[in-house]
């Protein structure tokens, strides 16, 4: 076999192995360019964690205190590393006197989440991401064709909290049943894919991070990612840092 032939075979195999990516993914959507501005201070409202065991017929929900604490700590640490002034309002750590949280922030949080469920938002691919080098340097990023909107009634919060940017963040992690037949068949017929499957934990972890500008009443940044990994501190801190970094660079 000549060197050229061998090189071609190896290169083909390399691109073939690229397909061994499991069903992990990440999608970032941002506001139109004219609505972007620098994220110096963000108010994070009540980060939420849900841990579910889907392996049995009846879903089992686990206690989330520890992971929620990890989420808070790692969000703060990542913000500090990236010089973002992050202020977190969390119902677990609030004093009883913080009535604004229940009167205002909880409603705003609900509005931001609801805006993503009820509004049809078509997004267009950003021109910058279509170049080869751009696609290597950036995650899959799209621009909202029409920015999702929230109630304009929250505009006054910008002055009260010293920033117009309010964010919601959360983690949903589920144990899923192992498909033994599929794994063994893949291992027998396509060993590299099979080994990759055996090394992948039977856990799906979704992470989301949404930022809204209360002054304009628009959602300006939205990100969701799915990893085939546990919601451990190690994994969460990497996802949070990356998430903040992407948001910062996009605005």
């Amino acid at each position: 076999m000549s060197r050229t032939t061998m090189s071609l075979v190896v290169i083909s195999l390399y691109f073939f192995t690229s397909c061994t990516s499991t069903n992990t993914g990440m999608l970032v959507e941002t506001a139109k360019e004219e609505n972007l501005c620098s994220l110096e201070k963000i108010v994070l409202i009540d980060p939420e964690v849900v841990l579910v065991d889907n392996r049995k017929q009846e879903k089992v929900f686990f206690a989330t205190d520890r992971i929620e604490r990890v989420l808070r700590e790692e969000s703060q640490a990542s913000a500090d590393r990236l010089n973002i002034d992050l202020v977190t309002y969390d119902k677990e750590t609030l004093a009883n006197t913080e009535v604004n949280f229940y009167n205002e922030l909880q409603h705003l949080r609900y509005q931001i989440l609801r805006s993503n469920l009820t509004q049809e938002v078509k997004s267009a691919r950003q021109e910058e991401s279509t170049t080869f080098w751009g696609s290597l340097q950036q995650p899959h990023t799209r621009e909202f064709a029409k920015d999702p909107s929230i109630s304009p009634a929250f505009g006054y919060l910008a002055e009260q909290y010293g920033t117009p940017y309010f964010a919601v963040q959360g983690v949903y992690s589920e144990y899923i049943p192992i498909q033994w037949k599929r794994r063994i068949t893949t291992l027998v017929f396509f060993p590299p894919f099979g080994i990759a499957q055996f090394l992948t934990p039977n856990t799906n972890t979704f992470y989301y991070f949404i930022i809204a500008d209360v002054r304009s009443g628009k959602v300006i940044h939205r990100e969701i990612r799915l990893a085939n990994n546990r919601a451990s501190r190690q994994n969460l801190k990497l996802m949070i840092y990356d998430s903040f970094n992407v948001a910062l660079k996009n605005h």
Binding site: M6, Y14, S78, L136, Q137, Q138, P139, K249
Partner: protein, 223 residues
């Protein structure tokens, strides 16, 4: 010289990440320096230094330099030009290798350089070989080959993780195809050439140079 220029160009391109790049690395750190423990176990001497730099969100470039010192037994089981059998002394091979590897991390959600990856690598180097054979008439034949060209390509998979946020652990295995070209001594060195490539198992002795190799890298996340 051409190979060194190529290596320099690849390194230069790797460091030219644009300022707005969204490459987070491991909490902002993108350079890992490692050494391969399997090579120390496989070979009698030498050292191994690796540097991995993350130049894109899911791609990194690893440059490696290693030297090997190893003795190979010559089992020539047929008579070639009057050479009948080997001596008890193994052939001594001292070599150096430069390796360029491109890594493709498989997870889109967890930022590289942590996680499962596929890699493709190209190695080049030179080897000095010395040994002896015994002729049919029991006369010793000493030979010495200087700067025999060596190259290999390898394809594999691995997993890299970090302990305490600094210590890198990198395990992987791959399939490689290699060639050691000693010119006019190729026939004499037939039993040595195929074994020079991988550090684990060699497949299809004599005719092909396919092999399996493994690595266990331990190192440090620098910046």
């Amino acid at each position: 010289m051409l190979k060194l220029r190529l290596l320099f160009c690849v390194l230069l391109v790797g460091t030219l990440s644009d300022a707005a790049a969204q490459v987070s690395g491991y909490l902002g750190k993108r350079l890992v320096v490692k050494t391969d423990l399997v090579d120390y176990w496989s070979f009698e001497g030498g050292y191994n230094v690796q540097a991995e730099y993350l130049f894109a969100r899911r791609h990194s470039l690893q440059c490696e330099f290693q030297t090997k010192e190893i003795g190979y037994d010559n089992y020539l089981n047929r008579s070639i030009q009057g050479i009948r059998y080997d001596t008890d002394d193994p052939a001594q091979v001292n070599s150096w290798e430069g390796v360029i590897a491109l890594r493709h991390y498989l997870s889109r959600a967890l930022p590289a350089p942590k996680g499962l990856y596929a890699y493709q690598q190209f190695a080049f180097g030179e080897a000095d070989i010395s040994g002896n054979y015994v002729f049919d008439n029991f006369e010793n034949f000493d030979y010495k080959v200087a700067d025999a060209d060596y190259w290999s390509v390898e394809l594999g998979w691995g997993y890299q993780t970090f302990l305490l946020g600094r210590i890198a652990i990198d395990v992987g295995f791959g399939f490689n195809y290699s060639e050691l070209d000693a010119g006019e001594f190729n026939l004499v060195l037939e039993d040595i050439r195929y074994r020079h490539g991988s550090n684990l198992i060699q497949l299809e002795e004599r005719l092909q140079f396919f092999g399996l190799s493994a690595h266990l890298g331990v190192g440090c996340l620098l910046f």
